[in-house]
Point group: C2
Chain length 325, copies 2
DNA sequence: GCAACGAACAAAACCGGTTTTGCTCGAATC
DNA sequence: GATTCGAGCAAAACCGGTTTTGTTCGTTGC
């Protein structure tokens, strides 16, 4: 099947191809009758613009990029990506995905040189992240999920942690712990600070934060080996929360009686175990969409304000309850 | 930062831009000394080809597409995608992702018209899938994951189910059940047939297959309400298996004593619960890579043979054991 | 009645590559 | 010594759009 070009339309309508271009783009300089004739022919031929040709002359790639560092199939990421897509998809802006465990910087370089993308979304921002500097240097428009020197959209860690810790406080917990992802992540750092703040505000007896890297189950085991043992555990991700439930089951610790488990993100996974996981729900799809919207603004030439996304809300299920001493 | 073009190189090296193109692409017709000079200048200027310009003249998009129907964040999908990427990423072929719950066909049409992609990968093939017909009609190169009229790579359902059922048979199970995804999926249909075959071959007393749609937990509950109750349950996905463990816990059914649970795919999720899930391991990353490799052949002009990927292997963990009557 | 103007369109340049064609010149052939 | 021939390169066409520049012609103003 041969795809029609504006040249074909021009020939068929008996006009110059520049006229066709003007007519199709609603530019002035074409009489109404000619415009209608051209649109008719274009429709008849089933013409659609070649994104490549348009990109070349407009110097716009018509795509945005996302580089993923981890090969670990984080379910949460997929929902973020779906959120990105909900903004760009309908606008016919492609979403280019690349996995690059250790070569993220090279990918950005490559994309920029090849003019493959108009902008990028950056997830899992680290403290003093080299990507931020590079993107600024290249002048490649970017929006980060998590605060950075670039335009960003971030989660409301304070409210999230106040919600989580407040819930546990109301249930009567006095010794709480939290397990998060790598401490190098801005997300983790912010949530750790917010967790400790909230714990102080609620006058917790103890509040400790540990990292799930490299082995989340081992980290949970160590936490639960402490004496006195924390009676509640806030897990940054739902996967960690599932893991915590597993460790508790293995150690014969009853949930929620002897240990309350709270997931810092909600997803269908939280419904699977018994008891189901109480979670702080963040709408990752909307979060992703908000980031995409911000990038869209940036690409349109505005300087979008940094946004905080939220607030999260608590979804109470069976994995949290009053501590039994 | 201005990006250098071959025109810049040509001016600097004092040659025509066609000569630069030949030199950079290793074409004959350029003397060795000129070629070296041009490569030197290109290197000095930090030149990289514009993918857009190259696409326009070569009539190749330099990208392949993937349309996802489901917004449900299936962790398995991410690993497949990572597998695709492991083939295309290093070759600087972009992976374009689009979520299109009900407009998949429109996306293919649009991509084809816009010349956005050179080919597509199709996941979750359904019986009599309209996408297959459309792709054939458009002549858009495609590889399906799961058998179809198009070039495909599929899983070895027979071996997988023989492995799973054989394991259960050796443990002494006589009444087994299986829960799978939508029966419309080719993947499900093939695994159902293979499961029933294997059950017959092992002279099972009973072997029933149900679908997890729309509510997997409810389906498991119904299965476990049957009398006599099946003593083992094969779950097509690891998420379903987690759900089955949850339901069993809720009903007070001990795993693996009263019910063995086996996951049809392995992932880190299988390690989370206690007992951890015995699984039939399929390397989804390699499976995705095999599909991508097949598409690459197709794009290179070969007609690749349909491949079966496998065989899977059994990873024994705690969720399966001899039935206690 | 003639210059000035603007509407409507054609023609051409451009984006940054690839590919075809054409030209020049030195070496080999007869 | 005139004729091929081919190596090495320049020039131009091309991909399919967008954008700038030119051209024609009817209308308006003085």
């Amino acid at each position: 099947m041969r795809r029609p070009t504006i040249h074909d339309i021009a020939r068929r309508a008996g006009v110059a191809k520049s006229t066709v271009s003007f007519a199709l783009n609603g530019q002035p300089g074409v009489s109404e009758s000619t415009r209608r004739r051209i649109l008719g022919v274009a429709d008849e031929l089933g013409w659609r613009p070649s994104s490549v040709a348009r990109s070349l002359s407009s110097a716009q790639a018509g795509a945005v990029g996302l580089v993923l560092a981890c090969e670990t199939a984080d379910p949460a990421l997929m929902r973020l990506v779906a959120g990105f897509e909900s903004v760009f998809g309908p606008r016919e802006v492609g979403l280019l995905l690349q996995f690059a465990p250790r070569t993220e910087l090279a990918v950005y370089h490559s994309w920029w040189h090849q003019r493959r993308v108009d902008g990028v979304l950056v997830v899992d921002v680290r403290v003093s992240d080299p990507r931020i500097a590079l993107l600024g240097e290249l002048g490649l428009p970017a929006v980060t999920l998590g605060r950075s020197a670039l335009p960003s959209v971030s989660l409301d860690a304070e409210t999230a942690m106040r919600t989580a810790v407040g819930h546990l406080a109301r249930l009567g917990h006095r010794r709480i712990a939290r397990i998060g992802r790598s401490p190098e992540l801005v997300h983790t750092a912010e949530h750790t600070a917010a967790f400790l703040d909230a714990a102080r505000a609620m006058a917790m007896e103890s509040a400790v934060c540990v990292t799930a890297e490299p082995d989340a189950a081992e980290a949970v085991r160590r936490l639960l080996a402490a004496r006195p043992r924390p009676t509640a555990l806030v897990c940054d991700t739902d996967v960690m929360a599932l893991g915590a439930l597993g460790v508790a089951a293995q150690l014969g610790i009853r949930v929620p009686g002897e240990l309350s488990v709270l997931a810092g993100e909600d997803s269908p996974l939280c419904l699977l175990p018994h008891p189901a996981l109480t979670a702080v729900r963040v709408d990752l799809h909307s979060y992703g969409a908000a980031a995409a919207e911000t990038l869209r603004c940036l690409l349109a030439g505005d300087r979008p304000p940094d946004r905080t996304f939220g607030p999260p809300c608590l979804v109470e299920r069976g994995s949290t309850g009053p501590p039994v001493s």
